[in-house]
């Protein structure tokens, strides 16, 4: 492990306004749909209205005859593709049944929206019209939608696999069963973590241009370098002849961490037709065929001694993968399992995961990816256990916290938490809340028919993906390491370009990375341009997801800048005839320690390096450029305490979030304003899932929530103002001491809301309700608790409640009636 180095912190730590913003606030940014190429054609996709069917025939003749239509293709036409769409995780020793997923369906369709044919033409309206004229005959097959039904294998999603169960995977430490047998108290719950959408406001989009043997693809993606790799594999094009560009990307949230059918379709069609091909996803398509997230049924057990010492935690996770695997589908719950112990010393833990196929769209990484689900289970169960023990949930947390002096702390899984001070964030959050005042407000409001509740979530999570040896093919089984790259080029005039392999979509890399590099090179962030998202400009990179950009990509940039700074110091020392160790970076210059008048600016140093070789030490390479690949030594583990206060209307069951307090710790801040922004958005995503958002399929596999009319993204009226603070506990794992923050809010949020709602309702005898905590669910729970439980059982969409929710809506039993053990 490296030590924390004292960087010359002039710009680092400041809330600098973003360098990205001028183009974005003036309408001058360039997203994929803003790009038009000469001779460009448009593509529309013909999608299955059936959730499961055999394709009898595809007839494109009528469509082909329509004005402006260039070509119509179906799955058979794409038989020259070398490989299907990829899945990048092959854990050693785990038997996995993986369905093949081709860009256009072959033989059967397996979910609503499965791509059957594509229409390419001169005009986007023309191809939309023509797509409707493609005649597809389907022979419907039986459909299975519910994940626990699918486990029975009565209806198979892919007959050729012989089962819907794709794999089983167990990770654990200690002896859960023995600990549970010996415990004073055991709490069991069935917790449904329902399916949600990523829903970036910019839908996906692609332009592919195959020209003179080379392929260039512009895609709204989080992973341009991975795309290039997979294009090479899928289409049999040498990797050096493929260039992928992520231009301005309008949000990702994991939804653009995918290798998508439409990317391949555009590239393939461009190769066929010799013209660029563009596809822009509609929102209806985005809801149907941009991957969904979560969707687990979790059978959870927590055991403790009567004094509140937690002795065991067990999660049996049934993961609804959907009809196929996406890039990382089966890996998602595993990522959560890595931090199953959360902030607590729990000696015996086990995660059993079963992957299951259903006739729905794929699930994959959405903001947090496995960690929100696991944190939800853990933090909800802490409150459930506290209630069972008759103990204060905050005290239960404190009693079991890993203490600051325990770090580095090895969990029973063998994961090493880098650093933490969990009680400090909780203490600060409690100070901001004022519990005494809260309880008196709660009592006063109850008399007015408002049920107020407070809920807590103290989380730690794993991010900074990742040490390549640990996660790569011979470790955890990912198909690639997760290092990150930086290339820093100081130009002859002293301005700087930083190329990063991270690929942002709103996070602010151009500002934060510029702050890091500027301080190290004695210049101003305004003179540092950060270039990202183009495989032709920078070295191989892995992209932006998993809260990795700063703690991996940012550290790469810092190390590259430090190497360049050392070269600058040697040049300055040569010119001043001084000792290199006496040269320091201060006040934006390289100068002699103790005599700041003696020194050179970065521009002067660059002048030597590029223009006047005689001003360089002999044998020193000319130029000022550094490429660096940084492979982290460990993950990083941010943490924090979130507090949610809700008001529930006792008549309608409507929940309002009235306060949100968050004290997060992601190590020393590079730009505090950017951190706050990530927490705001992350928590809002969690509030959305907990209260409003749910992807709903009916029993025939029809998508009920196909637009923003039906899928309730929270608006400004549903989200409160946030009360934020931070503590700074450096990570010993990297030289900046930084951890990730992009997903922390989402990971922390949902259990805080559920716990707050239960706090508001427990005097009514309600002990647990599953998300989403809609007015209907809460009203039904209140009716049941008040002995009037004959109310209608239906979703807000008028559909019968999905069967996976039925068992847990209302005051759940302490002992569930068994699970799929």
């Amino acid at each position: 492990m490296s030590t924390i180095e004292e960087a010359p912190a002039k710009h680092v730590g400041q809330s600098l306004r973003r360098k990205e913003d001028p183009r974005l606030i003036t309408g001058r940014a360039q997203y994929v749909d803003d790009i038009t190429l000469h001779g460009m054609l448009y593509m529309a996709v013909v999608r299955s209205p059936e959730a499961h069917a055999r394709i009898v025939s595809v007839d494109g003749a009528a469509a082909r005859a329509m004005p402006g239509v260039t070509a119509v293709y179906s799955g058979e036409d794409l038989s020259d593709l070398v490989a299907p769409l990829p899945m990048a995780w092959a854990p050693p020793g785990v038997e996995m049944k993986m369905p093949e997923r081709w860009p256009l369906a072959r033989g059967t369709v397996n979910h609503v929206g499965d791509a059957v044919a594509m229409v390419v033409g001169e005009d986007k309206y023309a191809v939309a019209d023509a797509a409707q004229a493609v005649q597809v005959e389907y022979e419907p097959l039986p459909v299975v939608v519910d994940v626990e039904e699918a486990l029975k294998d009565e209806v198979l999603v892919h007959e050729s696999l012989g089962t819907n169960k794709t794999h089983e995977w167990t990770m654990g430490g200690g002896d859960v069963d023995a600990a549970i047998a010996q415990a004073d108290v055991v709490v069991e719950r069935r917790i449904v973590n329902h399916r949600i959408a990523g829903a970036p406001i910019e839908p996906r989009g692609v332009i592919a241009e195959f020209r003179a043997g080379s392929l260039t693809v512009w895609s709204s993606t989080q992973v341009p370098h991975l795309l290039r790799l997979f294009f090479a594999v899928q289409m049999g094009i040498p990797e050096d002849h493929v260039r992928c560009i992520a231009p301005e990307v309008g949000g990702g949230f994991g939804g653009k961490l995918q290798v998508c059918a439409e990317e391949t379709l555009c590239a393939w069609a461009s190769k066929q037709l010799g013209r660029p091909v563009k596809w822009i996803e509609t929102r209806s398509e985005n809801m149907a065929v941009s991957h969904h997230g979560r969707d687990q049924v979790d059978y959870v057990r927590m055991a403790a001694t009567s004094d509140g010492t937690i002795t065991a935690f067990h999660a049996n996770i049934i993961q609804d993968c959907g009809a196929y695997f996406g890039l990382l589908t089966p890996m998602i719950p595993e990522l959560g399992a890595f931090v199953m112990t959360g902030c607590y010393k729990i000696p015996n833990v086990r995660t059993d995961i079963t992957g299951v196929l259903t006739n729905k769209y794929i699930t994959d990484a959405i903001r947090g990816a496995g960690r929100p689900e696991m944190t939800h289970m853990l933090e909800v169960m802490i409150d459930q256990l506290a209630a069972e023990l008759g103990m204060d949930a905050i005290e239960l947390r404190r009693k079991n916290f890993i203490a600051p002096e325990d770090f580095p702390y090895q969990t029973p899984y063998g994961i090493t938490y880098d650093s933490g001070n969990y009680a400090a964030t909780l203490d600060r959050a409690l100070e901001m809340l004022d519990m005494e005042a809260f309880r008196s407000e709660q009592a006063a409001l109850r008399d007015q028919g408002i049920l107020r509740g407070v809920g807590f979530s103290t989380y730690t999570e794993i991010c900074g993906l990742a040490p390549s040896r640990a996660v790569g093919p011979k470790g955890f089984g990912l198909g690639i390491g997760l290092y990150e790259s930086a290339l820093i080029r100081v130009h002859p005039t002293g301005t700087v370009t930083v190329f990063t392999g991270a690929s942002p979509h709103g996070q602010g890399h151009e500002t934060g990375f510029a702050q890091i590099v500027a301080d190290r090179l004695g210049t101003d962030p305004a003179s540092v341009e950060v270039i990202h998202g183009d495989t032709a400009t920078g070295p191989m990179g892995l992209g932006t997801y998993g809260s990795r950009s700063l703690s991996v990509g940012g550290v790469a940039a810092a190390h590259a800048a430090e190497k360049l700074a050392q070269k600058c110091k040697e040049i300055v020392a040569f010119n001043l005839e001084a000792n290199v160790d006496d040269i320091e970076v201060s006040s934006g210059r390289f100068s002699l320690a103790g005599d700041p008048d003696q020194g050179m600016s970065l521009a002067e140093v660059a002048g030597c390096a590029y223009i006047d070789a005689s001003a360089m030490p002999e044998n020193m390479e000319l130029g000022l450029e550094q490429t660096l690949i940084y492979d982290p030594s460990n993950f990083v583990f941010p943490f924090g305490a979130h507090v949610c206060v809700v008001d529930i209307d006792a008549v309608t069951g409507k929940v309002d979030v009235v306060r949100w307090i968050a004290v997060d710790d992601c190590g020393p801040a590079i730009n505090p304003m950017l951190i706050d922004g990530q927490v705001h958005g992350g928590v809002a995503h969690g509030i959305g899932q907990a209260l409003y958002e749910q992807v709903v399929y009916d029993e025939r596999g029809q998508l009920v929530t196909g637009t923003f009319m039906d899928y309730a993204l929270p608006t400004a009226e549903e989200i409160p103002s946030f009360e934020l603070d931070r503590t700074e506990t450096p990570s010993p794992s990297n030289s900046l001491g930084v951890k990730g923050i992009g997903e922390a809010g989402t990971i922390a949020a949902t259990p805080a809301i559920v716990n707050a709602v239960i706090d508001a309702l427990q005097h009514e005898g309600i002990s647990y309700i599953d998300m989403p905590l809609t007015p209907l669910r809460i009203w039904q729970a209140l009716e049941e608790a008040r002995g009037r439980g004959d109310g209608p059982k239906a979703t807000e969409q008028g559909q019968p409640l999905p069967s996976q929710a039925e068992g847990s809506a209302g005051s759940g039993p302490t002992q569930p009636e068994g699970g799929a053990a």
């Binding site: 913003d21 003036t26 989200i719």
Partner: protein, 164 residues
């Protein structure tokens, strides 16, 4: 491709006379015909507001209006908010200063909706509640709205001449 009809319209102060298909949406006219790509399309159902622009001073979702419906109208898009000398509109400045955007995709629509909100409100500070109600037709997935609200309040105060 169907019939083409004439259209006279003024966009960001510039008279335009490019004929259009009668079914062409205003947002596609702005983006594809005039090249004003600052107005974005984020949904099919006029929920997200990324395409919001001003038609005769009122905010409309340009994905739900046909270009031909704007015959004779004055249309303002995000590109028209910046002064001729590049000076930022107080709303643009507010979004920058308050970190009211992340990915930026919803931002042009947010700014245009806020311009209408401030215009309708008249001079003086706008309460957080009123700002939140005023932009509930515009979705943002990145910011949790917190800084958007602050940005609009800051701009409203600046536009009223009240020190922020």
């Amino acid at each position: 491709m169907g019939t083409i009809v004439p259209l006279q319209i003024t966009v960001n102060g510039q008279p335009q006379e490019v004929p259009v298909e009668p079914r062409q949406l205003l947002v596609h006219y702005l983006r594809d015909t005039l090249g004003l790509t600052g107005s974005h399309v984020g949904c099919d159902t006029s929920n997200c507001g990324a395409c919001t622009c001003l038609v005769d001073g009122e905010s409309v979702k340009s994905c739900t209006v046909l270009a031909v419906q704007c015959e004779g109208a004055q249309v303002t898009t995000i590109e028209g908010m910046t002064g001729a000398d590049g000076e930022l509109h107080p709303l643009q400045q507010g979004f920058w200063d308050e970190h009211g955007l992340q990915c930026g995709y919803c931002t042009p629509g947010m700014i245009m909706a806020a311009a209408d909100l401030i215009e309708r409100h008249g001079p003086g500070p706008i309460s957080e509640e009123d700002v939140r109600a005023g932009i509930e037709g515009n979705l943002c997935r990145c910011t949790g709205y917190h800084n958007i609200v602050k940005a609009i309040q800051a701009a409203a105060e600046k536009m009223s001449g009240v020190p922020a």
